[in-house]
């Protein structure tokens, strides 16, 4: 039996190149759309994961730029500000505090890192408190250092891979000419810890001339404590700023929102271009088949039949474009992620693009709606063709 769907599909085969180009156009816009929606889901999930893996809910840093503080909290940074170590005792007196861990971040340029050198991040941590707060960290080799003055290091998974170090090896700090013993290698965490070199805090303070100074104080708050009230109390401390997880998340999301708006605008433009492409393809096809459509009406097709025939053609183009687009989303997700990482000022360590069934369903639905809307005008135009006009145009 010959169905109207088959007729529509076979009509599209007449101008294969044009149909394929239209499908590619729809596919590209579906790809941009699905990637954008996947990014919306993935970025926030990865950011939450990064924050959860920090082990503390509040960070106290020296007063300065909140973006710098947020970056420090998540990634480490340069151009750091310092506060006095004595701040620890002032914080500890608050009843809301469960645990605190002092930290000193230091970045060193290593000329041997990569092809043209790179920064190595050293994080001075307290062997008493830091491992307890980060109890989820697991060791591939060795264990945490125990003496806060020992010239020892624990290396994150990627840092160890990059430096090609194993437990028991020696690590040389560039420029300082000081050897540190690697006592542990962490398993991969998928967070910024993978690229960090952990050093006992007092040893790091001494090595870089920052005795008695910190870049951050991580605070784990008691379960039932009122964090907002506690933050207000912390602001009474001199020359510090308080960064809570909620704030960090908000700050990062603010940074990302600009990029999101840009990408969303690009997606909208891509969708509009795809719509125009579909309308153009179908409209051209209608004009080319003007006489034929008239003949179809003379052999019994009602206006609604012709409308359906043309609309189904649009529908098929968009379905195939949607399938191609979602295929590209999966196939090119790594490339898309690479491009996004290049574009954004900060990206979490996990997967930035989260793809799932709902996202694919949403993309397909959007593409179909676009297709059906795009098809209305050409289909209406075709439905209005009068058989007599087509016969007259034959005579002409």
């Amino acid at each position: 039996m010959l169905s109207i769907y088959k007729v529509s599909y076979k009509n599209l085969l007449r101008k294969k190149t044009r149909s394929i180009l239209t499908i590619i156009g729809v596919g590209l816009s579906a790809w941009v759309l699905a990637s954008l929606m996947g990014f919306n889901q993935g970025y926030e999930a990865s950011l939450n994961r990064d924050i959860d893996n920090m082990g503390f809910q509040v960070l106290v840093t020296a007063k300065g730029c909140p973006y710098e503080a947020a970056t420090l909290m998540l990634k480490g940074g340069t151009g750091l500000r310092y506060m006095k170590e004595s701040i620890t005792n002032l914080v500890l007196v608050n009843p809301e505090v469960d645990k605190v861990t002092p930290m000193l971040m230091h970045a060193v340029f290593d000329p041997n890192k990569g092809e043209s050198g790179g920064m190595s991040a050293y994080l001075g941590v307290d062997p008493e408190t830091f491992p307890k707060m980060k109890s989820f960290l697991e060791f591939k080799q060795g264990k945490w250092f125990t003496d806060s003055k020992a010239l020892e290091v624990v290396m994150g998974y990627e840092a160890a891979e990059l430096e090609q170090r194993e437990a028991g090896d020696i690590l040389l700090i560039p420029d300082k000419n000081i050897e540190l013993k690697v006592v542990g290698i962490l398993k991969r965490t998928g967070t910024q810890d993978d690229g960090t070199i952990f050093v006992p805090i007092h040893a790091l303070q001494k090595l870089f001339g920052k005795t008695g100074e910190l870049t951050g104080l991580g605070i784990k708050v008691k379960k039932d404590a009122n964090i907002a009230k506690f933050e207000e109390k912390l602001y009474e401390l001199p020359d510090v700023q308080v960064v809570s997880l909620a704030q960090v998340k908000q700050t990062i999301m603010n940074l990302v929102s600009t990029a999101k708006v840009m990408v969303f605008s690009i997606a909208m433009i891509a969708i509009l271009i795809a719509m125009v492409g579909v309308i153009n393809t179908i409209l051209m096809s209608v004009f080319e088949r003007f006489q034929e459509i008239g003949i179809l009406k003379s052999i019994g097709a009602m206006p609604w039949d012709i409308f359906k025939l043309i609309w189904i053609e649009t529908f098929i183009l968009c379905i195939l474009g949607g399938i191609a687009g979602t295929g590209m989303t999966f196939g090119l997700s790594k490339t898309t992620e690479f491009l996004i990482r290049k574009l954004l000022p900060y990206t979490p360590t996990g997967s930035l693009i989260k793809l799932d069934f709902n996202l694919i369903a949403m993309t397909m639905l959007t593409v179909l709606i676009i297709g059906l809307v795009s098809g209305i005008y050409p289909a209406w135009k075709a439905a209005r063709v009068r058989p007599l006009e087509s016969i007259r145009s034959e005579l002409n």
Binding site: M1, L2, K6, V7, N11, I299, G300, L388
Partner: protein, 228 residues
Amino acid sequence: MENQIAIKAQHLKKIYRRGIEEIYAVNDISLDIQKGEYVSFIGPSGSGKTTLINILGCLDNPSSGKLSIGDKEIFSEGKTLSEKDLTKIRRELFGYIFQKFYLIPTLTVLENVLLPSTFYKKDGTENHASELLNMLGIDKRKNHLPGQLSGGEMQRVAIARALVNYPQILLADEPTGNLDSSRSHEISEILKDLNQHKELTIILVTHNMELARTADRVVELRDGVVKL
């Protein structure tokens, strides 16, 4: 057996206006076509034969006059039908063949024949399509695409397509206009055969006198009127 009237036209007029000038494409034509009759219309270009066949075939409304098909009154004074109503009549009663074959190039021969049934289906059209292809001698080509057929074969496919929904009347507008004399003769034989053995009413418009003479009656038109 007493003849029944298939089409009855009374005082049909079709007037086109070009500025203030009125052009009578069909001017007061009355005629009866009997059921099972084979009528051909001939005449020079601009004589009104195509306009007349369009009105008789319900492709166009007349400006005035009456038209009945069988017992059904299609047009009468002051009454014109919508495109939708005309389509209903066309698909119920008529089959059409045109000078160009208008086969869909990406559908096979069989699919092209079945095309009308996509929009309006009468019982048994699928078997009927195969029977028609067999009768017209192109059953072996049923899975071929139109591009693989000769002009004569394509017109046979178009004839099968016109007949698939069991029309009562077949309208053929210059069916041999795109064919050489040998293929024209084949089509002429087919039309004659359909008329004689299937008792199909056929209305033919042609410039080809040889084809016109195969009809039961030849009506000559000139300047929108029947030349007696």
